[in-house]
């Protein structure tokens, strides 16, 4: 659904960042937030809600809507739009409620 802008997609000018998404290898670019990287990869849902379990994806991209929640490096309910993608990051879908201590 989302595409990178042509000049932003010039991989030669940008550094690739490797991370894992739900256990599988994935790639974004330096400067991406986690939420932007997921959208660019075509992942428009990143969590299921805490009560009804309905799917949600990044929406406001500015830290307000809390719909981009993901598990990052083992910590649940992180706002993907506020966390910059880093090499080797482990990103997982937030399946419903966060667990205490995780």
């Amino acid at each position: 659904m989302f595409q990178r802008l042509p000049d932003a997609d010039d991989a030669a000018r940008r550094t690739g960042i490797r991370f894992t998404l739900d256990g599988l290898p994935a790639q974004g670019f330096a400067g991406d937030t986690v939420a932007a990287a997921l959208l660019a990869l075509g992942r428009d849902t990143c969590r299921q809600t805490a009560i009804s379990g309905s799917p949600r994806g990044p929406y406001c991209m500015m830290g307000v809507c809390f719909d981009c929640l993901v598990v990052i490096d083992g910590v649940g309910n992180r706002q993907g739009c506020l966390v910059r993608l880093r090499e080797g990051m482990v990103v997982e879908t937030q399946a419903g409620k966060r667990e205490v201590g995780r």
Partner: protein, 373 residues
């Protein structure tokens, strides 16, 4: 043409709607007159415990009255569900008071013993648990937790859903909810009954029940009642929704049916100021994280304060006016715990022969120490 009702309940919070739905259930044409969303509404800020264990020091009858309500609660929750379709998530698995040191545990155990030793106190079963016992129920407790008081009568509900369910049931039973009706004057009609004024609006009712929380202090003298109540601020925090990890409510800490963890129970004299502050909130969060260290990693998503409706001795007032028969007063700070008793016991008394001896201990004459003493 003035609207007329059999009974007007002043106040549309948890107390007023519980009594209102009980009166409507007795076949009375009932109106609830509600100040509206500007009201200091304790019903939207409370901690949602259905609680017995620590109550009644100084008034044994308050403990037995509370226990009557707790016994009525399962039937009450079932009837709310049946009539409104709303599940108020009543859980009564027993509740705990956690102690963060051996000294605190001893003090709390001594308080429970003193409570039970009062003359006329209906024996209350409770247990003092040591740390190893407690770890069977809460494996995640922090190193400072020394033990707990456990009482198997205690529980909790979803109090916002309770508030909603009571309004829905009241309406389904034919009750009239009149919002934005801030009562300015209650006067007695020559032939019996009352006229109630709010600006240009006016209704008449055969009986009137004051259930206006802190507002009762202003309204009570209009009909020969006595409501010396004041606001007592409580602050609370709630976390993001997390997977279930607290199987039982703790008096200062509970996990809601939807997953949020609430922390609360502060008490401050702050007048009508509904502010929150990091001092109290931080202390409550710190105690919670010492009880359950993993909570320290969880995000707080909201904080708020609400004003308890407090008498000088902390106990409810139920009064039938002698000067203006047909005028009743009901006020308390446990609108959740006592909701079942208000709907199923107090409302039938008001609809019937008036308050019985069972409520005598709650008459405000207890505040009137003779001048000579």
């Amino acid at each position: 043409m003035v609207e007329t009702y059999d009974v007007a309940v002043l106040g549309g919070g948890l107390v007023g709607t519980a009594i209102g739905l009980g009166l409507a259930g007795q076949g009375l044409r009932t109106a609830i007159l509600d100040e509206g969303d500007v009201a200091h509404r304790a019903s939207r800020g409370n901690f949602a415990l259905v609680w017995v264990q620590s109550k009644g020091m100084g008034m044994p009858r308050y403990s037995s009255w509370t226990r009557e309500s707790v016994r009525l609660w399962p039937d009450y929750a079932a009837s709310l569900r049946e009539e409104s379709g709303i599940d108020v998530s009543l859980h009564q698995p027993g509740g705990f008071t956690l102690a963060l040191s051996e000294g605190e545990l001893e003090r709390r155990a001594a308080n429970m013993a003193r409570l039970n030793a009062q003359p006329g106190f209906e024996h209350l079963d409770y247990e003092v648990w040591d740390r190893s016992q407690l770890r069977q129920v809460f494996p995640e407790i922090g190193p400072e937790v020394a033990g707990a008081i456990f009482c198997r009568l205690d529980g909790h509900v979803n109090s916002l859903r309770l508030f909603r369910a009571q309004h829905v049931v009241f309406a389904r039973r034919g009750g009239a909810y009149l919002p934005n009706f801030q009562v300015q004057e209650i006067s007695r009609l020559p032939g019996g009954g009352f006229r109630i004024l709010s600006g240009e609006r006016c209704i008449e009712a055969g009986q009137v029940v004051l259930a206006a929380g802190i507002g009762n202090a202003r309204l009570a003298p209009m009909v020969g009642l006595d409501a010396p109540v004041r606001p007592l601020r409580g602050q609370a925090l709630v976390t993001e929704k997390v997977a279930p990890f607290l199987s039982h409510p703790i008096v200062t800490l509970r996990q809601t049916d939807e997953g949020g963890v609430m922390m609360g129970d502060s008490q401050e004299e702050a007048g009508f100021d509904e502010a929150t502050g990091l001092g109290i909130l931080g202390a409550m969060a710190d105690r919670a994280a010492r009880m359950f260290p993993k909570l320290g990693q969880v995000n707080i998503v909201r904080t708020w304060s609400a004003l308890r409706v407090m008498t000088k001795d902390g106990f409810p007032i139920y009064q039938h006016s002698e000067a203006a028969p047909g005028a009743f007063l009901t006020t308390c700070h446990s609108g959740v715990t006592l909701a079942a008793a208000h709907a199923l016991a107090v409302a039938p008394m008001i609809a019937g022969e008036g308050l019985t001896d069972a409520l005598d201990a709650f008459h405000p004459r207890r505040f009137h120490v003779p001048a000579a003493s």
